[in-house]
């Protein structure tokens, strides 16, 4: 008969503890929870849920929850939200984000480097290499691109037809654009504008093509200092200002974008990425896209969405598997089919569903070599606010362009000096 003496009790207890420890570890690898914070709207949520469903087929014991941020007020506020989560130690495990946040997240050590994970995943060889280049910070990869948006001119073809204007062709100039906007602007008998030729953009991302196509930018090339004193910046701002206050072909930009006005046929041309295509398609608007007009080149801006893993995320194998689903071929095909952005994968961008609308849909992918990433330094949220504050003052005719550029330059450089001091 088995006797429980002191020695056997201690040994059996130790064995039990060791076994339970092993069992516990094994369970923690096969089950657990993953929290995802994604950015975007209904289409992005649907794509994410599809990815979760695929993940749960392989990892049925993991509970995956997703929260959505509509990015209603720009990426600066999203950065604030994520930093707040880390400060409160309530961060999600996976973040869906955009280039505007990359340097901020990476410089603050909020995200895990994933070079090994990327190297092991064969699906990513189909992605444009330029996208992965912008996913690096100080030589390490922290983000996997999912989709991207380059800003194009969306135009209402019915308005062009009615005005007897030929559709825009590649290489059209700023001057041609300005004349077309004037012709497309319609006023009623009381002088009230019933159809604007163009919406002078109100958001940092949408404004960039007017700087890039003039061979300049608000920041220098490595995003480390202001470039607001470049006369070409003033020239670009003056051009937009004059469309409002000289030509009367665009309204003063307000705090809201004019997407609904475009869908309602009250604006003929707007600067947007691919994300407006589903709404335009649903509204059955006879709309197409054109490359933004040229001043010294035909460059436009590109911003892209990506997925990253929070620093110190638990269940890393499962989290990486979830990221693989969020960025895999099925997820890319979902992006292409919904039209919420241009898929990162070239194969997905050749799907018939993606190319069905608008008529010039291939332009989005074709123009990728002629794009520059939206300037996204580690102090992006501050840079964006400074630039937009002076930009809106100029567009509202409250401040001369030269004064705005000078004051914005001083504030931007102060911000970069503070950033430098923080990083050192």
């Amino acid at each position: 008969m088995f006797k429980l003496n002191r020695r056997s009790f201690v040994l059996s207890t130790a064995a039990l503890a060791a076994t339970s420890g092993l069992t516990g570890r094994a369970i923690s690898a096969d089950s657990g929870s993953i929290r995802i914070l994604m950015a975007g709207g209904d289409a992005d949520l649907a794509n994410t849920n599809n990815a979760i469903a695929r993940f749960n087929k392989k990892f049925p014991n993991f509970q995956v929850s997703v929260d959505m941020d509509p990015i209603a007020t720009g990426w600066g506020d999203f950065v604030t939200k994520v930093i707040g989560e880390f400060a409160a130690n309530t961060q999600h495990d996976i973040f869906g984000t955009a280039i505007e946040t990359f340097q901020t997240f990476a410089s603050r050590g909020l995200v895990e480097p994933i070079d090994d994970f990327v190297a092991k995943n064969p699906n990513y060889s189909d992605f444009a290499p330029a996208l992965f280049e912008d996913c690096k910070y100080k030589g390490k990869t922290y983000f996997v691109p999912t989709s991207w948006n380059n800003i194009m001119i969306h135009y209402n073809r019915d308005h062009f037809d009615k005005a007897g204007i030929a559709y825009p062709k590649a290489g059209w100039t700023w001057d041609e654009f300005r004349e077309i906007a004037k012709k497309l602007t319609i006023k009623d008998s009381s002088g009230t504008v019933t159809q604007w030729g163009y919406e002078v953009p109100n958001q940092n991302f949408f404004i960039q093509p007017w700087l890039f196509s003039n061979g300049t930018g608000a920041l220098n090339d490595d995003w480390s200092a202001s470039n607001m004193l470049d006369p070409k910046v003033a020239e670009s701002l003056q051009f937009l200002h004059d469309m409002i206050h000289v030509d009367g072909s665009a309204p003063i930009p307000g705090s809201a974008t004019m997407d609904n006005e475009y869908l309602a046929g009250q604006v003929s041309m707007i600067n947007r990425g691919h994300w407006v295509i589903p709404n335009i398609r649903n509204a059955k608007l006879n709309s197409d896209v054109a490359i933004p007009p040229t001043k010294v080149n035909d460059y436009t801006v590109v911003g892209f969405g990506a997925v990253c893993i929070a620093k110190g995320a638990q269940n890393m194998d499962a989290v990486q598997a979830m990221v693989a689903e969020l960025t895999g071929p099925e997820a890319e095909a979902d992006v292409a089919k919904t039209g919420s952005a241009v898929p990162g994968s070239k194969a997905a961008a050749q799907l018939p569903e993606y190319l069905a609308f608008p008529p010039s849909a291939p332009l989005f992918y074709q123009t990728l070599p002629h794009t520059k990433a939206v300037p996204s330094p580690a102090n992006f949220q501050e840079v964006e606010k400074i630039f937009i504050r002076y930009y809106t003052a100029v567009m509202a005719d409250e401040m001369p362009v030269a004064d705005a550029c000078k004051q914005a330059d001083a504030e931007l450089n102060d911000s970069f000096a503070r950033l430098k001091a923080s990083l050192s």
Binding site: G76, G191, V193, Q381, R389, T392, A396
Partner: protein, 299 residues
């Protein structure tokens, strides 16, 4: 044997204990959500604080930066301008509405008017601002009627001249009902005997208002002015939704600046210093109002 004085002392002691026990929950909440955050804000105002990059003391640098930044003057002036206009509008319109409704009329009509004017008060400012942002659009309802009158389009929110008055207009529409209600309550406390005597003496209505009604309700008017001032000095959501503080800095308030600096630019120390300055400003303004009230308010 216990004396009467000892029994009274015991009673007082147990009453005091019960009193402290009753106020303990609210004191705990006050400490956790008011006093401790205020103390932390004051401490942070002397620091550079960043949860990731690290923190250090900076002395009075944050305050120096605030007082030497040309934007501070504009933002401070915006806040004072909004406060002056909003307080005047809310209190004056509220008082006029109360006077208009403080008269004999059918009960259902009285309740209808009171409800109609008070209803905007219970709607969240964010919702109100979103709806009014459509009214203020270039193709909104205001410009629609202006166009029918042959008047030019007004850029209500995108012009520095009209943006602030437009926000004040919305604020008065939203909040004046609250002041109307407290003024109605105050007006009903004016003794009828005095008013009837004045009427019998042939005192005209305007004189009755200045000589009897206004002095009688002056403590309530004073409360309304202080209450409206403190609220207006902290204005945030209506401006943020309608104009984002723009165009440029034309409508940016101190509250918006605090949030932008602390949570938009992660300069939490600097944001805290602006909050401290704002608190001092509110204290000074309230103190000045208290001093003035000693001359004007009749208790």
């Amino acid at each position: 044997m216990t004396t009467t004085a000892e029994r009274r002392s015991d009673l007082r002691s147990s009453q005091a204990k019960a009193g402290y026990l009753f106020i303990f929950p609210s004191m705990l909440l006050y400490l956790a959500f008011v006093l401790v955050p205020v103390i932390i804000t004051v401490i942070l105002s002397f620091a550079y604080y960043d949860p990731q990059f690290g923190s250090h003391w900076v002395g009075f640098d944050n305050f120096k930066r605030f007082f030497t930044d040309p934007r501070s003057v504009q933002i401070f002036w915006n806040t004072l301008r909004f406060t002056a206009m909003a307080v005047t509008g809310n209190v004056t319109v509220g008082l006029l509405l109360a006077l208009a409704l403080n008269r004999a009329m059918p009960g259902w009509l009285l309740y209808f008017f009171r409800l109609a004017f008070f209803l905007p008060v219970i709607i969240a400012a964010a919702f109100v601002a979103i709806v009014w942002s459509y009214f203020f659009k270039d193709n909104g309802i205001f410009n629609y009627y202006l166009a029918h009158l042959g008047l030019p389009t007004v850029h209500w929110l995108s012009s520095a001249q009209t943006a602030m008055p437009s926000i004040v207009f919305m604020d008065v529409w939203k909040n004046t009902g609250f002041f109307m209600v407290i003024f109605i309550a105050a007006l009903q406390g004016v003794p009828k005997a005095i008013m009837e005597a004045a009427i019998m003496d042939g005192t005209p209505p305007w004189r009755r208002f200045w000589r009897i009604t206004l002095p009688w309700i002056s403590p309530v008017v004073f409360f309304a002015v202080v209450y409206a001032s403190i609220g207006a000095l902290q204005v945030y959501e209506s401006i943020w939704i309608l104009t984002n503080g723009g165009p440029g800095d034309a409508t940016r308030s101190m509250s918006i600046n605090i949030v932008e600096q602390a949570f938009g630019s992660f300069q939490i120390g600097y944001g805290a210093s602006v909050a401290v300055v704002m608190t001092v400003v509110i204290l000074i303004i309230t103190g000045a109002q208290l001093l003035i009230s000693r001359r004007l308010v009749r208790y």
